[in-house]
Amino acid sequence: MLKYIARRLLTVVPILLGLSVLLFVFIHVLPGDPAYAILGQRATAEQIALMHAYLGLDRPLLDQYVQYLGGILHGDLGASSVNNRPILQVFLQRFPATVELTAASLVFAAGAGIPLGRYSGRNAGTWRDALVTIVSLLGISIPIFVTGLSLQYVLAVDLGVLPASGRIDLRLNVPAVTNFMLIDTLLAGNLAAFVDAVRHLVLPAVSLGSIHMAVIARITRASYIEVANEDYVRTARAKGLTEKRVDDRHILRNAWLPVTTVIGLAVGGLLAGAVITETVFTWNGVGRYVVDAIKNHDYMVVQSSILIFALIFLVVNLIVDVVYAVLDPRIRYS
């Protein structure tokens, strides 16, 4: 198992190196000058030259790349060109908000998607199956921002049952310890604040998780039907086992594998989707950090945030692969 993990870890290194080259090339070779983006199109040649010198863009490309890579390896992802704050520090400070949102979305996506898919698979070919198929088609086809805005209008603005934006009612004044709002409210022993934080989490989590809920339901359904048609399931039924036992012990255990993969892959998709969800719900996570950076033409923040997102994505994929190898030993030896 360790050998397998080491082998998979080794494949991540060249990808990360390639990523650093790609992001570097984007900034330095493609058309579009960061100096112009920062200073605006009306900047004079002198101002542009000064900005180039400030950003180090006047030095040879290889020098710039080596310095950039050295910085990354030392955990220095540069500073914002708008307020000069270290990018990694701000990213880590805001990351818990995104993790909280992503985790809640995953709980919703898997918590609703798996039972829906299983129900659909058990009733394949009936109107119940068709209904779930329609729900999952809608889930896949409705963009996060449309779901988010619609939920925001109906449940927050019109009916007023849930808060429309933010992470907590600011009047509750919860001290930031971990930056995970749910944990901080519990640490403060403030149950009312905890409930308020959960209420703030519901709409963003459902909006962000809706697409993945639909994908998980589809995969669970397909996997359930495939396994339910296997010979060993027929044998189990022929032995006289109860339907529940066949379902739990023979179908679900084997149908679980592809679902695990999809759930793992959903983490990456959810992190990317957070960029849009956080914009809709004014959620102060890293997604909004990227969007604000785009609006301020803060190239370094966009570039470094994408690198961190990609790193997280790779680590999550690695964990999924390892979990998959634990669940299915055939993978380790292939």
Partner: protein, 299 residues
Amino acid sequence: MSVARVSGGLAQGPERRISRGLWRDAASRLVRTGPGVLGLVLIGLFVGTALLAPLIAPYSASTQDLATRLQLPSAAHLMGTDLLGRDEFSRVLYGAQISLIVGVSAVAMGLVIGGLIGAAAGALGGAVDAVLMRGVDVMLAIPGILLAIGIVTWLDRGLPQIMLAVGVSNAPIFARLLRGSLLPLRDADYVVAARSIGAPRGRLLLRHMVPNALTPLIVQATLALATSIIDVAGLGFLGLGPPDPSTAEWGTMLTDSTQFLRLAPYLIFFPGAAIVISAIGFNLLGDGLRESIDPRLKR
């Protein structure tokens, strides 16, 4: 007499089972499925709206009339008016043009870029394959919408930039798919036969291998049209849409409407519904195509 009847009966039987080719068989299966037909109808509606927008739209997409701003849907303005008094119905219709052009171009770019990489990797193999596929791994490490955000941020806003951004974010999947389909074909009997009679490498690839590896690519392209339309609108929603604010783009229209959620919720509903209907159309067609090409997938 009886012999003639028997032979006639026999002649009819096998004739029904004769294949008319992969695509014609798939098309006839597709038009017999409800979801596939519904997908075609929705796409027809979307494409028809885009093509006929100048004829159907009662107003121009950019004409402002501040006297009639934020009006509810009425006979004069079927979908109401926005903050600047522009007719929402006309803007939704013209928005279909932008989504169609940008969505189709983005997928076409993705197909060309990904197709070239996948074809070179799958046909040449060895070091070329290894290098190209590591490059694809790098691209796949960045979630699609983030890659598109990065590209538009760097190249600045504009429709061609959006097309390229969404196209490039689609390319790695096309490259992987084509390479995966080409690899087993390298040892297929008909390819070995063509190689043994001295067919040059380019001809082998273009005439014998690629046409037989296109099926999964076409299905993926149909599904990618749905995600591309959503991604284009997503970029618009994040403020990375067309630089001209008068351009009717569905995602940008949604962003503009968020300020008036309480006053004018219909401004979210109509562009939102337009995005969803077109995405459902391509998703249904993609699923239908996949099942018609390989009926074993249908359960």
